[in-house]
């Protein structure tokens, strides 16, 4: 499956298993930047790791410092390889810009990306390729 017309937020490309959630993420309070794991037991991605995944989520919420948390995951080697948002927020955009993590917004009406499927994000081309 190919999803075209994605909006580039941060350029570059990355590939990995899709980690998909419909719940927003507070990167400061819900992510352990050293391990890349989601630490909030209330979150549906609890205990899942961001390392090497294509993170598909709506947008970030809460602390403005979450941008540094995203950058920290890169410094600790546990960053996602790409990020796909329904609507990228300022925290995600700025954190990923500094961490060199490609980011795109999904176009309206895009088909769902299956949990665990291998996804390749080519931000400059505005394209996501999903292998089942």
């Amino acid at each position: 499956m190919i999803i075209n017309n994605c909006k580039k937020i941060v350029g570059g490309s990355g590939e990995g298993p899709a980690l998909v959630t419909a719940q927003p993420i507070n990167f400061l309070s819900m992510v352990d930047a050293k391990t890349g794991k989601i630490t909030d037991p209330m979150h549906e991605l609890y205990k899942k790791s961001l390392k090497g995944v294509v993170l598909v989520f709506p947008y970030a919420i809460g602390s403005s410092v979450g941008a540094y948390s995203i950058y920290s995951t890169r410094e600790y080697g546990v960053a996602p390889s790409a990020v796909v948002c329904y609507k990228t927020d300022i925290t995600t955009a700025s954190g990923c810009a500094i961490a060199d993590i490609p980011v795109v917004d999904l176009p309206k009406g895009a088909p769902p990306i299956k949990q665990g499927s291998i996804a390749k994000v080519e931000a400059d081309a505005g394209r996501i390729t999903v292998k089942v």
């Binding site: 909006k7 937020i9 930047a33 809460g62 602390s63 540094y68 927020d89 700025s94 810009a97």
Partner: protein, 394 residues
């Protein structure tokens, strides 16, 4: 080639020639990074251009929140660039005059972060309530505020214009003097499409906090209208702003109604309490998040007059407010009632409050409760300030 062209058409943000050159690295790596951030947030918020800002307020100060990667990043970043607009700073981890049992490694790393900001020319104000300390620009002025309570308060109460900036996007604003013209810097997003109506009589500032937390969760837009409440006092407006900023992405509130209406009843208030109120009682009391201002110190002083706290009660406030309060004798009076002051820092993620030291904390701050529960991992007894004084003074 076709693909590249189509991307260029899709990209809505246009940069001036100078901005393009800075992005390409002509003015050095740090400014190139700053413009890279501005382009990313400009694209994500649908901006067509960058505009000048008058003030940047930066978060990302406390070592507990940005860690070694943030510290190292700022050290490098600060060696080649300086701020070009008024730039103020959020609280750090602890009060420099009261290191107590703060580990020396923490103090050193915190010191490095502060040095970096000072090297860039940022005012070391260590406050999350810059709106209570500094001169306020004219209404309608574009600013760039990280620290969500300050962004929400400035948009809603002071009619300044900022998006809910991140620590890094406000930093980019401080060294470029620019921000994208988008979302809450435009008129359209400042008129809420969805309103929240309170359907019960609010008893205290805590109810404003609960409503704010609820609003942040349910409102997906940049702004929200509140009805069914009286005009919030300073303390109520601060609690409301902080709570909205904690749970969502909404960055402004107005008083009034909107096309769509969501009800905030006792049931919704109770659901927030059930989530955040995780203890019956606490080992100590922390007041702050946001840091207390003169209004709140004055109010607290009246409540505790002739009484004494029977638990350790820490008041977090900025040094500027502390000094002002000291001049009018407020700090002395509050200290005689057993309260103690911590400057430069605040409740959220301070190393003063750890799970090793305390099982639970009493606070009136919804924002504080969220971070104490989730980041400091201590449980919280959430009570309004009057109840705290009633329950814990003699």
């Amino acid at each position: 080639m076709v693909l590249i062209l189509s991307t260029e058409i899709m990209s809505g943000l246009e940069l001036s020639r100078d901005e393009e050159e800075a992005l390409a690295g002509k003015l050095g790596k740090a400014l190139a990074s700053a413009y890279k951030i501005l382009v990313a947030i400009g694209e994500s918020t649908g901006a067509k251009k960058l505009i000048p800002i008058k003030w940047a307020h930066l978060s990302g100060v406390n070592y507990n929140t940005i860690g070694d990667p943030g510290m190292d990043f700022l050290d490098k970043f600060s060696r080649t660039t300086k701020v070009v607009v008024k730039s103020t700073l959020n609280p750090m981890g602890y009060d420099r005059n009261k290191p107590e049992d703060i580990p020396s490694s923490f103090q050193e790393k915190q010191g490095s972060i502060i040095e970096s900001y000072e090297r860039m020319g940022v005012n070391p104000s260590f406050t999350c309530t810059p709106y209570e300390i500094f001169d306020i620009p004219d209404k309608g002025t574009a600013i760039s505020f990280a620290e969500s309570n300050a962004a929400v308060f400035s948009n809603s109460i002071l009619d300044l214009r900022t998006n809910k900036e991140s620590a890094l996007s406000a930093l980019a604003g401080s060294v470029t003097g620019k921000a994208p013209l988008s979302e809450l810097r435009l008129e359209e997003a400042r008129s809420p499409k969805v309103g929240i109506e309170a359907n019960f009589k609010f008893g205290s500032e805590l109810d404003y906090g609960l409503m704010g937390y609820f609003a942040g969760k349910v409102i997906k837009d940049s702004s929200v209208a509140f009805s069914g409440i009286s005009k919030p006092s300073m303390i109520e407006a601060k609690m409301l702003s902080a709570a909205i900023g904690t749970s969502g992405s909404c960055g402004m509130f107005t008083l009034g109604t909107a096309k769509e209406k969501i009800s905030f009843d006792r049931k919704e208030a109770k659901a927030v309490m059930d989530e955040l109120n995780t203890a019956e009682d606490g080992d100590i009391i922390t007041l702050g998040s946001p840091q207390l201002g003169m209004n709140e110190l004055d109010y607290l002083d009246k409540l505790v007059e002739g009484k004494k706290f029977n638990k350790r009660c820490i008041i977090f406030c900025s040094r500027a407010i502390h000094n002002q309060a000291a001049r009018v004798g407020l700090t002395g009076k509050l200290q005689r009632s057993g309260a103690e002051f911590m400057c430069d820092s605040c409740t959220c993620l301070t190393p003063y409050v750890t799970k090793e030291k305390y099982d639970s904390i009493v606070s009136n701050s919804v924002k504080g409760a969220y971070y104490l529960n989730n980041s400091n991992e201590v449980s919280v007894a959430l009570k309004d300030i009057k109840t705290i004084v009633k329950d814990y003074t003699e």
